[in-house]
């Protein structure tokens, strides 16, 4: 069944912009990205939108639909009523390039600030041995498709531009947690998480988890465990004393 849907799409660039109204045909089974493509094909050939796989796996088509951060390709039109006006805007945490396309280089800068996997000294590539039970916890975080919806929705940087230098965002704090939980990683991730990547700014309100299209439990499985590990190192004298007395190391 087809119908005409009312869309409001943000059109503009870094200097100015506005929400423009369109009426577009919608067919059964379509997603918002299909409608944006139809808009390009029929009414707005210069509409800029970033997309690639159309299967929720490349993380390119991140935007905001009715004010909620979502992937355009994973938002079914059947979730809206035919009378509803659907508003599509670019992600509002990052600088806009044009229309629905944003400059997400903030995330690449933050990614480079996280030291890569650091195996024990003397252990060469090809000699890594580990048990599945030790790595499976951090494998959940490898599902990340880097759509940056979690970064976009996180109020720490969305609402406070000033915090961007101090806070790496849920995506990269999750990366730090992944490495800290890795059985062969020996780098000191815990102090860095708090002091260099701003873990303390996170107030665990779970918006990152809410928007993750891969359903990664970012807050419960990465951020809170990381906060507890930081508490071990920085705020718990009993753990410190226990580590000293029992000579427990970081490889426990």
């Amino acid at each position: 069944m087809s119908y005409k849907a009312n869309f409001r799409v943000w059109r503009g660039d870094v200097d100015s912009g506005e929400l423009r109204d369109y009426t577009v045909e919608v067919n059964e089974g379509e997603v918002v990205l299909d409608i944006i493509h139809r808009l390009q094909a029929t009414q707005a050939p210069d509409l800029a939108v970033r997309w690639n796989c159309k299967a929720g796996k490349c993380g390119s088509c991140s935007a905001e639909i009715n004010g909620r951060p979502r992937l355009l390709c994973m938002t079914r039109m059947s979730t809206f009523s035919a009378e509803e006006t659907i508003t599509v805007t670019p992600m509002r945490t990052f600088p806009v390039v044009r229309d629905l396309v944003t400059d997400v280089s903030f995330n690449y800068t933050k990614a480079r600030q996280v030291p890569s996997f650091t195996p024990p000294e003397g252990l060469k590539a090809g000699e890594y041995r580990m048990e599945q039970v030790d790595v499976e916890r951090s494998q959940e975080f490898r599902k990340c498709i880097e759509c940056f919806l979690c970064q976009n929705t996180c109020h720490v940087i969305r609402d406070f531009e000033d915090n961007k230098p101090a806070f790496s965002g849920p995506r990269y704090l999750m990366r730090i947690a992944e490495l800290d939980m890795h059985p062969l990683d020996v780098a000191d991730r815990q102090k860095a998480a708090q002091e260099e990547h701003g873990l303390g700014y996170c107030n665990i309100t779970k918006c990152c988890t809410d928007v993750c299209p891969e359903h990664i439990k970012i807050t419960d499985n990465a951020l809170i465990p990381m906060k507890e590990r930081v508490a071990d190192r920085k705020y718990d004298p009993l753990v410190w004393l226990g580590d000293k007395i029992l000579r427990r190391g970081k490889t426990q």
């Binding site: 943000w10 009715n66 004010g67 531009e161 107030n203 665990i204």
Partner: protein, 264 residues
């Protein structure tokens, strides 16, 4: 200079947010329930009356840590505060469950959203211009949640004892059970489930380990707590209701509003 979603370089959209759903409902419900609980528990904590009806002890008054409590045979009382404490004894012991819930990772989310609007809902802007999260005093103290967890375990053990002594009749004879026994039992089960599903518990049990393979028993426990942890929010609310209802039940029986129905 404009900040937040109006910061230079970002898409210039007049509306502060464009959400069309009822995003305000969840924080509004949270605030309503928490305020209702605060009002009720404050009244009961200061009341200093009707908290014991043989063999039931209200969870708000157990254990009693002062000497000005009612006589409560077999209860796990320890008058550490002696006779100089003249206020309600509930005010001493309630600090521990209050601290546990106040620093709980779930409740933090609930009250940051509900009371602080930080944020009220995802992609709804905050009504302030500066934010430092949990990096400064007093919110940096949230990192002491684990200490409240330790106390919460002790409190849960004492409440379990209170359930055990509730298997008596109103004259103190063992082997009996009333509706109050069931109420206290349901409450303590929910308190235990909430306490053990805590994120700090999950970390202490096994989350802090780098090699589960070297600690198979702790790994098993960690898996159990992790499963429980996925229900932490539901358990937080259920145990909040149950503790208030358990206190209300004891209050009604103690004040003579009705007699405790006895099963055997």
């Amino acid at each position: 200079m404009a900040t937040g979603t109006a910061a230079p370089g970002r898409a210039q959209i007049e509306e502060r947010h464009l959400r069309t759903d009822r995003w305000w409902l969840s924080p509004a419900v949270t605030v309503t329930i928490l305020v209702a609980f605060i009002v009720y528990s404050t009244w009961r904590a200061f009341a200093n009356d009707d908290y014991f009806a043989e063999p039931y002890v209200s969870p708000f008054y157990s254990p009693c840590l002062a000497e000005n409590c009612d006589s409560m045979p077999l209860s796990a009382n320890a008058p550490l505060f002696g006779d100089w404490w003249s206020l309600s004894p509930a005010l001493i012991i309630l600090i521990f469950p209050l601290g546990f819930r106040l620093t709980c990772y779930y409740y933090r989310k609930a009250y940051y959203r509900g009371f602080w609007a930080s944020p009220s809902a995802c992609a709804v802007p905050e009504p302030r211009s500066k934010y430092s999260g949990e990096t400064k005093f007093p919110l940096i103290m949230q990192n002491f949640h684990r200490y409240f967890f330790y106390f919460a375990v002790i409190v849960a053990l004492i409440l379990s004892w209170d359930v055990l002594i509730a298997f008596r009749d109103e004259h103190g004879a063992w082997g009996h059970m009333g509706l109050g026994t069931l109420v206290l039992l349901a409450n303590v089960l929910l308190i235990w489930a909430y306490t053990l599903s805590c994120h700090s518990c999950r970390h202490i049990i096994g989350g802090r380990l780098k090699h589960f393979s070297k600690h198979p028993v702790r790994y098993k426990y960690w898996q159990f707590v992790s499963r429980l942890n996925t229900k932490h929010m539901q358990l937080a609310w259920a145990s909040l209701f149950s503790v208030a209802l358990a206190d209300l039940y004891v209050y009604l029986v103690a004040s003579g509003a009705f007699d405790d129905p006895r099963f055997f």
